[in-house]
């Protein structure tokens, strides 16, 4: 039997937005809450199936033990990629990515 679900609240969505590092306006909060609640209703269909004894899928065809050898990429390729990757940085100083100070974080 599907268990009745508590409807999603704006507090729930605010908490989730916070975890996901998104800021929502009050209007957005209300709209998203009703939209997300409707999708969660869909999930109710899952309760029609008894899967307590079924294992979750990790890989559809059960692939295991995929490894690569411990060999470095040639230095010239690594150097070129480093320069191109750093060139894409929004703010780079002395070959490092510059960010505003962390807050409330003692390292």
């Amino acid at each position: 039997m599907p268990e009745p679900r508590e409807p999603l609240t704006t507090d729930d969505v605010a908490k989730v937005a916070n975890l996901a590092m998104l800021d929502l306006s009050d209007d957005e909060l209300v709209t998203f809450t009703s939209q997300l609640d409707a999708v969660l209703d869909l999930a109710g269909e899952l309760n029609q199936f008894d899967v307590a004894e079924v294992a979750p899928t990790a890989h559809p065809f059960g692939l295991t033990n995929v490894f690569r050898p411990d060999e470095p990429e040639p230095d010239d390729i690594a150097d070129a990629i480093r320069e191109e990757a750093l060139a894409a940085g929004p703010e780079v100083e002395d070959h490092q990515y510059r960010v505003p100070p962390a807050l409330g974080e003692a390292l």
Binding site: K15, N18, L19, M21, P56, A58, H59, L63, T64, N65, V66, F67, R68, P69, D70, E71, P72, E73, A78, D79, I81, R82, A85, L86, E93, D94, H95, Q96, Y97, R98, V99, P100, P101, A102, G104, E105, A106, L107
Partner: protein
């Protein structure tokens, strides 16, 4: 805050550093960087130091579209560690630990969660205690931020610079059960663990380079109780000394809170070595929710029995086994630990087995051999040298000199001693010299005979020094002392 702390013996034979009636409950999480050429999931180099962002690749920078592929060597090392810690090695899966942090390129860490590689092991410490290992799982390291600001302190910092050289370096996280009862046992555990990691070649174990990092989960409880109370995880412990201090500080903080009718709250705290105290870390207004789930970019590791057996066969003798071998030959526990710690135990054991006196062999290992070069010393030669000493053919001073030359040239001790014209001095000859010196130094002799222990010790140095000078170091210092004391008590 200040209380009289009674220092009695606790069950673990450590002095009790807490007020009467309280005991510490400590679990340790050790992160060790694995000794590989490349990172956990990318072909970038795993190398300490180097210019910022030189050991990077699209994968470990977390660039869009990149995918992780597991470094086989890192798994092999991790299995080796699990076996050395008596763990069950099992089928395991990778999980993503989700949280936002600029040092972490993907804003999730690939780690292991409910199905780690190694579980349920233990480690026996030199002092005789056993620490249970809950798990030893694989994960990737983060990058490093440098805070740039006028005062260099975090809260005044203008900005931070991020270097991803360390991001993605393979780590093993070894988690003990909460069975450690004090700072000494904690340090003993870390030292023993470090020694194992180095012995099996899985990690260089360098705490000073951050390749071995220790977090301590500390709580307290009434002595003898079974309960587990709220624990705090103390991070940023960068040396064994800090580890001991941090544990004591944190445990006392908990006791103080309980005795004041309050209680600690579960949190991560950072050890400030300079201030000698821990501080709360990241603000915990909302409990952390890492949203662990199986990483869909990776597949399970299911090590075959053959692979595990092959790795097990490659594990060399572990420190405990090596210490026990020396102890079995008459070495003290301390001397054995020292020899193993200096990686000179095989040499010592071979020399002792060749018939040399254990104490003298271990004295040379402790005091007269540099680790570098000594590895090449022939154990047979060392045994011969010690035999010459015990036979009285060489004095301790001469033996030390001969040993140094043996290390350098690889020559046999007999040849070196002969080249120097070292021969044990005839006892009669030495007696004559000592008596002559006493006659020539009446004032000094007076002070030696009449002086208290301190004065006598000082004068002893004078007489021994003179005899050594006269014999060009060939005299046996011990014999000289014996003669002086004999003459004085007449």
């Amino acid at each position: 805050m200040s209380q009289t702390r009674t220092e009695t013996e606790s069950a673990s034979s450590e002095p009790n550093l807490l007020p009467e009636g309280w005991e510490m409950v400590i679990g340790l999480e050790v992160h060790a960087e694995l000794a590989t050429q490349t990172k956990m999931f990318s072909p970038a180099r795993n190398q300490f130091g180097g210019d910022p962002n030189t050991n990077v690749h699209p994968v470990c920078l977390g660039l869009p579209g990149t995918l992780p592929v597991v470094n086989e060597k890192a798994v092999e090392h991790s299995i080796r560690i699990g076996l050395a810690l008596n763990c069950t090695v099992q089928r395991c899966i990778w999980a993503r630990k989700n949280y936002f942090y600029p040092d972490m390129p993907k804003d999730y860490q690939i780690s292991q969660y409910d199905k780690p590689l190694n579980v349920d092991g233990w480690l026996d410490l030199p002092g005789g205690s056993r620490v249970g290992i809950e798990r030893a799982h694989m994960e990737e390291d983060t990058g490093k931020s440098t805070h740039v600001g006028v005062s260099g302190r975090i809260h005044d910092a203008g900005y931070s610079l991020v270097d991803y050289n360390r991001a993605g370096v393979p780590l093993i996280e070894i988690v003990t059960r909460p069975e450690i009862r004090g700072p000494e046992q904690a340090k003993e555990y870390v030292e023993e663990l470090r020694s194992i990691l180095v012995t099996i070649g899985a990690s260089d174990g360098k705490m000073e380079e951050g390749s071995l990092r220790v977090d301590a989960n500390v709580s307290v409880r009434p002595t003898g109780a079974d309960e587990l109370r709220t624990r705090c995880e103390v991070k940023n412990v960068n040396s064994l000394r800090s580890l001991g201090r941090a544990i004591i500080y944190e445990a006392r903080r908990h006791v103080d809170l309980y005795e004041a009718g309050d209680s600690p709250r579960q949190e991560t705290r950072h050890w400030d070595e300079e201030a000698g105290r821990s501080r709360p870390g990241r603000s915990k207004e909302e409990a952390e929710d890492y949203r662990y789930f199986a990483d869909p970019d990776l597949v399970p590791i299911d090590p075959s029995a053959e692979w595990i057996a092959e790795i097990a066969a490659s594990i060399p003798a572990l420190p405990k086994e090596r210490r026990d071998a020396l102890i079995g030959k008459g070495a003290s526990a301390e001397a054995a630990a020292m020899a193993v710690g200096r990686q000179l135990d095989a040499l010592a054991l071979a020399a002792i087995e060749a018939g040399a006196d254990a104490d003298r062999v271990l004295t040379h290992v402790a005091n007269n051999l540099a680790v570098d070069g000594a590895q090449n010393l022939d154990a047979g030669h060392l045994a011969e040298l010690v035999k010459m000493e015990t036979d009285g053919a060489l004095t301790a001073t001469q033996a030390k000199q001969v040993l140094a030359e043996m290390v350098e040239t690889g020559s046999a001790p007999g040849a070196v001693a002969a080249a120097h014209g070292f021969e044990a001095m005839d006892t009669g000859e030495l007696e004559t010299l000592v008596d002559q010196l006493i006659a020539d130094s009446p004032e000094e002799w007076e002070r030696f005979v009449a002086g208290d222990d301190k004065a006598r010790h000082k004068m002893q140095g004078f007489f021994t020094g003179q005899i050594m000078k006269a014999t060009k170091g060939q005299a046996d210092g011990k014999a000289v002392n014996q003669l002086l004391n004999q003459r004085a008590s007449r």
